[in-house]
Symmetry: C2
Subunit: 245 residues, 2 copies
């Protein structure tokens, strides 16, 4: 039987118990291997487990703003101005967090040659972990991390995003290492070089500059990130198996 009529204001849903967090998959390439920034949880649930950094979106913030703030807090980096967290997707399944209803807007962010992070306010510890050794993570962060990896790998093909992994000046060999670390596949060096240089706006040479990379071998010319954001033509990753090119 129906209960008494309940008057409803337009703000009825304003008090549903939703919390919104911004979590980050912060990636870098260190010594040729993809790494992800993780924090050790200091509280229940999942106390002592590793998780992606992140935190609650404040009432006066967008999720993007919260992501940048959290990144600065949890990495201890003074300069996050050059970082551009990019939205990955939003995870909203009920039961993701055993405490309450949490909707998480996930972001990816890419860093060059990383400084060691220091533990921030919320996290007991923070460190760079090789991507292959990152799991298992707290909550549904395994899935978020996998989605981030797939997204970044795909975006390397069509955008100049790879330069976000590099320091201001870099060699083409270093740039190639980014691609190989993210894709997990070796690339032909001569062809990689030609394709990068043939893509307008991807990189621009630093005149006269050169640097020794491995301690041996010919010094490599240095390049800066160009102005293009999209790559024409794209730099396609090798087809995994017997797929028709």
């Amino acid at each position: 039987m129906p209960g008494p009529a309940v008057p409803e204001g337009y703000d009825k849903y304003a008090h549903e118990p939703f919390a919104v967090t911004a979590d980050l998959a912060v990636l870098t390439v260190r010594e040729g291997a993809l790494h992800v920034l993780l924090v050790e949880r200091g509280e229940e649930p999942y106390r002592g487990h590793w998780a992606l950094p992140g935190g609650f979106v404040q009432p006066d913030e967008s999720a993007e703003t919260a992501a940048r703030r959290e990144l600065a807090e949890e990495t201890g980096l003074s300069d996050v101005s050059g970082l551009h967290p990019e939205q990955l997707r939003t995870y909203s399944e009920p039961g993701r967090d055993p405490r309450m209803r949490v909707v998480t807007v996930a972001f990816t962010a890419l860093l060059p040659d990383p400084p060691e992070p220091r533990a921030g306010s919320d996290a007991a510890r923070a460190r760079w972990v090789p991507y292959a050794e990152a799991r298992p993570l707290a909550f549904d962060h395994d899935r978020i991390l996998a989605d981030a990896h797939e997204r970044v790998g795909a975006r390397l093909e069509y955008s100049s995003l790879a330069t976000a992994f590099c320091p201001p000046e870099f060699t083409l060999g270093e740039l190639q290492q980014i691609y190989e670390a993210v894709w997990g596949a070796g690339l032909d060096r001569p062809n990689f070089r030609r394709k990068v240089l043939a893509t307008p706006g991807f990189v621009e040479p630093v005149p006269g500059a050169a640097r020794l990379t491995g301690g041996r071998g010919k010094p490599a010319a240095l390049y800066r990130a160009g102005t293009a954001t999209a790559l024409h033509p794209p730099l396609l990753r090798p087809t995994p198996e017997g797929r028709p090119a």
Copy 2:
């Protein structure tokens, strides 16, 4: 000077005034032109303006579930089982909604040959509007719609998504119209045909079936959507201008 210490439970943020909505950019191709499903708002703010359909996510729902529910409610479609709303991105800027803090998870959904929608519970009216005539919309829905168009256009290149615009059996000419309507560019028919048929799992023929399309001309063979989701090789859209292929 500091005030008295405020004890904080872990659920402090559970009562921040966040509301979460799922809004949809529902697209279809009708008579060769891209259309979007819009509803006329029956309440303030933006009363009488057109907006994307959507509504609040309930406490026991994911945003995906809410999107499907809203789609069924606002289109009056009995069969939304074949529809797969796909997450676009999340819009969380403060001030998006003048009433309260609203975080919107936006989705795209594609429909074949659309039935006329009927107005649902929340919407005064609902109708299909040609994409070019859709603006201006309420809230920040102009931006969401533009993002949806861009995303769908991009995904047509690498996924078999275009078949979601088509009825269960369709001709290659109809499929080509989907691409042309979304991309706003003409395609070479012989080459389109070859590329579609050369992509494994994109479409599969319906043996012996044929249909007249324009009332005149040779009857066209019919095809069904194949099992592939990703296209190898992709079906690239024509380069807009003087860009190096």
